[in-house]
Amino acid sequence: MIEVENIHKSFGETHILKGISTSFEQGKTNLVIGQSGSGKTVFLKCLLGLFEPEEGNICYSGKVYADLTRDERRDLRQDMGMVFQGSALFDSMTVEENVRFPLEMFTKKDKQEMQERVDTVLQRVNLVDAHKKYPSEISGGMKKRVAIARAIVMNPTYLFCDEPNSGLDPKTAILIDNLIQEITREFNITTVINTHDMNSVMEIGEKIIFLKDGFKEWEGTNKEIFKTDNEAVTNFVYSSELFKKVRQMYIEERN
């Protein structure tokens, strides 16, 4: 579980995060949504420990990040998996080398044990024929799967995803969403996903927080978000023509 208490983050004169408090539960897919520039990525980077908030605390299973020593922070980082927006796979390594990288770096497993673990996670993300391929030789959807495999290879407690289905076709995007949700439940991980994809919100948003201009504007579930009266949220949710029509149908049906 991750608890966030009143965090503030600025870059120079620009105040990006303005007192955000929330919590992310274990075994659930938690979504952070909002328009571009709302502070989602900065918020996620604060959760990852890449940015340190000027004010407020972030607690990981009861441990306050700011109170941890350098070594404890390093240990905590090894408990985190991250799927970057552009996958961030190492270009010079093959798919299996990318997935094996954290194991080689941080464990004392022998080669066979590592290979077994790599095969297991690649199988889990439905990638069985791409072991020897380089990132430049695989599709965007496959890259996301490799990134997910690399993120879960160390059995993390926390999984963070920055727009995991951006740039993917709708069908592949749903597959990636479902894969993340399945993995979250299977391994009982605390998953936090940054997205502005409403399909993801509908499909896997067990808990959603909506950011606007650095503030937490709204918090709820994927069922509640379509019924809320919050104007900023409805403007965001119904910004696409498709969702506007769905809403219209829903209102007509209700009346």
Binding site: M80, F84, Q85, A88, F90, E104
Partner: protein, 245 residues
């Protein structure tokens, strides 16, 4: 003020490179890879340039020695001194800044814009140690490349002198041996080691701290070439004054 801040940031980066080392088994393979990429991969251009620079120095010296009272052995002497003291360590280093430095800046810069460096940091890896330390160690082998450049430069000079009929082989070789001061080779290798450190770290700095996208990677590589060359030229002057002055 901006430049002073950048210099401070560079030294902090260098300090960070040596903190929290990467697991040795991984580091070892990274070092071998960098030796292959930075040193072995540059040997072709180093040999090519050294050979022709040696030849040109010989021809220019010979063409300027028109007085018949000046012995032809002076051509060999001038070639040796020019190649060992200046052309092999400094000229080769400028070429290396162009080849190796641009490669370092663009490869690290690309890793920055594609979030690969963030990925390393998130995993708890000291990205500076992982990326820059192997390059520093690999560049410790750079004096071997410069030693080869010295040899090839003198060889190029000998071939130009003998086959261009500027000096007989015996005179040229005699000139190579006149007033030889072993410290000049030591001086050249001290310079080379300092330049090697600069070539490994300054382009890394420009790549690691760059911001933006693909266009900025190109700009960073250009800026890196300019500033690394400037620093090498200044250090060349300072070290010459300190060691030979």
């Amino acid at each position: 003020m901006k430049y002073i801040a950048a210099i401070g940031k560079y030294f902090i980066m260098v300090w960070e490179v040596f903190k929290k080392p990467t697991k040795w088994s991984m580091m070892r393979s990274l070092i071998f890879k960098e030796i292959d990429e930075l040193i072995y991969g540059s040997m072709g251009i180093i040999i090519f340039i050294s050979f022709f620079i040696g030849g040109v120095v010989t021809i220019q010296t010979a063409l300027n020695l028109t007085n018949p009272f000046i012995p032809k052995s002076l051509i060999g002497f001038a070639t040796r001194q020019s190649v060992i003291l200046e052309f092999a360590p400094t000229f080769t280093s400028i070429i290396m800044v162009g080849k190796v430095g641009s490669y370092i800046t663009s490869s690290i810069g690309t890793m920055r814009v594609t979030e690969q460096i963030d990925a390393l940091e998130v995993m708890g890896v000291n990205s500076l140690n992982y990326l820059v330390f192997p390059k520093i160690i690999a560049m410790l082998f750079y004096p071997f490349a410069v030693a080869i450049a010295m040899y090839i430069g003198v060889l190029g000079g000998w071939i130009a002198a003998v086959f261009g009929n500027y000096a007989p082989s015996g005179d040229f070789i005699q000139g190579l041996q006149i007033d030889f001061i072993p410290f000049h080779v030591t001086y050249a290798f001290i310079k080379t080691l300092v330049f090697a450190f600069i070539i490994a770290t300054m382009p890394s700095y420009f790549g690691y701290y760059m911001k933006g996208g693909a266009l900025e990677v190109g700009k960073a590589a250009t800026t890196s070439f300019v500033w690394t060359s400037v620093v090498i030229i200044i250090l060349n002057y300072v070290l010459t004054q300190l060691l030979l002055g």
